[in-house]
């Protein structure tokens, strides 16, 4: 029996948004923390740290997110670790997002003029203080646009979590589409919700850039 597309169906699609938001937040948090560590390793003075970070970035940028999720979800149990789906996506998205954010932030850190670090050295600032008070605040301004751009991609990328059983926005739209035979309507609704999630981020990015431009 074919269901009608009504309010309950629209709400069913909307219910997927919760998982999408949660998955996105996990990816931002995990990717942000590990990504910062990767960026700092990549710009460190120790060659072995640089190499480790470069390999990490190359590996996780060079393989599809879909495959990383598969490997974590089905691979870890083979090694004897039973993982629940939330842990699996948390690991998968963290690896993926940290590689990309790490590379974006490495570029931003290196784009801060060398004289800034030299002035920090000359004043006797420690590594932590040089990074926290001098280099990173300036790198952050440079990285706003590419970081937000990647975050928007990440929100849309959370749809891949469907393959390990998550009913998020795309998956719920798919379910409703097959139940109602109204794919255009169902996916249209989902697309609209994605837009509502991503649009404010892009606007925020523009506002941040404007604010920084006024200050300096």
């Amino acid at each position: 029996m074919i269901r009608q597309f009504g309010l309950p169906e629209a709400l069913a699609i909307l219910s997927g948004v919760q998982a999408t938001i949660l998955l996105s937040l996990i990816a931002f948090a995990g990717g942000g923390i590990v990504g910062l560590a990767i960026a700092l390793m990549r710009t460190s003075e120790k060659t072995w740290l640089q190499r480790c970070a470069a390999f990490y970035i190359d590996f996780f940028q060079g393989t599809p997110l879909l495959m990383q999720l598969f490997l974590v979800f089905y691979g870890l149990p083979v090694l004897g670790y039973k993982v629940n789906p939330w842990v699996a996506v948390a690991i998968g998205f963290t690896l993926h997002a940290s590689a990309f954010l790490g590379e974006i932030w490495r570029g931003s850190i290196q784009a801060v003029p060398r004289g800034q670090s030299e002035a920090a050295y000359a004043l006797g600032l420690s590594y932590v203080s040089r990074m926290r008070n001098v280099v990173l605040p300036q790198a952050m301004r440079i990285s706003v646009a590419p970081t937000v751009g990647f975050m928007v991609q990440l929100i849309k990328g959370t749809s891949l979590a469907a393959i390990i059983g998550f009913v998020e926005l795309s998956r719920s739209a798919q379910i409703i589409a097959s139940a109602t035979y109204k794919p255009l309507l169902a996916y249209g609704c989902a697309g609209l919700v994605y837009f509502v999630l991503c649009f404010p981020l892009s606007r925020l990015s523009m506002r941040l850039e404007k604010r920084f431009a006024v200050k300096t």
Binding site: A119, Y121, L125, N133, P137
Partner: protein, 256 residues
């Protein structure tokens, strides 16, 4: 303990900078050739020479912005060849002013001046603020304290950079072509600030082409060319009667 042991004689007569047989290469190119130089406390030295002569590299070795390969460099009793601890100790005692100012653009003038005392010396915020206001007033820029560097002229920025270095109450000030990036009308305000510092007895090493400044404040003028110290002496005889043909040629170009 260990850095106490590595500190040499610290009596008031001991030189504040001792450079002996310093050699430095960038790849195959030797930038510093067998440099030996002793700086007494309170001495004001001007280093001049053509571009690429190694003069900036030399003063950048003194606070370890550049590493050297051979020789010995001791600043205020700390041997710079003896590990990061000594380097950190020296950097806290040596102020530097750069050609490009290198102020922190995301911090206000006052924050630029307060950062190092708070982070390196552990000075309280209140004390750091007082310190910063005092030195900003001294370089006559106290009324701009809340502005960002980009809102100031080049000369003002360089004076802030001097104040920022002074907030660490350094024992030596290094100046790396401090007026070379300035518009001509702003050179004087920066030089006046530097003359004031010299009159207060600050130990200074200045890389500069401002020969008027050298005549006025220098105890010693050093001429470098191709990585070597060619000639040095008091400003009067140095300018009036340079001995080495290379010095004569350089001064000739400058004055005409």
């Amino acid at each position: 303990m260990s850095d106490q042991k590595s500190r040499a004689d610290l009596s008031a007569q001991a030189p504040i900078v001792e450079i002996a047989a310093l050699q430095k290469w960038f790849g195959d190119f030797q930038v510093l050739k067998d440099i030996s130089l002793t700086v007494a406390r309170g001495e004001r030295i001007v280093i001049c020479g053509p571009s690429g002569s190694g003069k900036s590299t030399l003063i950048r070795c003194i606070n370890s912005l550049e590493r050297y390969q051979q020789g010995r460099l001791v600043v205020d009793g700390y041997d710079l060849g003896a590990g990061q601890k000594n380097i950190d100790a020296v950097r806290a005692e040596v102020g530097m002013v750069f050609q490009q100012f290198n102020l922190f653009p995301h911090l206000t003038v006052i924050e630029n001046c307060m950062l190092a005392p708070m982070k390196v010396r552990g000075t309280s915020k209140k004390e750091a603020l007082e310190l910063a206001l005092r030195f900003l007033a001294r370089v006559r820029i106290g009324d701009q304290a809340q502005k960002y560097p980009a809102q100031l002229s080049g000369g003002q920025q360089q004076r802030v950079a001097i104040a920022r270095a002074l907030c660490m109450t350094p024992k030596i000030m290094l100046f790396d072509e401090p007026t070379s990036a300035l518009d001509p009308e702003m050179v004087k305000e920066v030089l006046d600030t530097m003359v004031g510092l010299a009159e207060d007895g600050m130990t200074m090493l200045c890389v500069t082409h401002e020969m008027g400044f050298a005549r006025m404040v220098a105890d010693r003028v050093i001429f470098m060319d191709r990585g070597e110290i060619i000639e040095s002496g008091q400003p009067e005889p140095f300018f009036a009667n340079p001995q080495n043909p290379r010095t004569q040629a350089f001064l000739g170009q400058l004055l005409h």
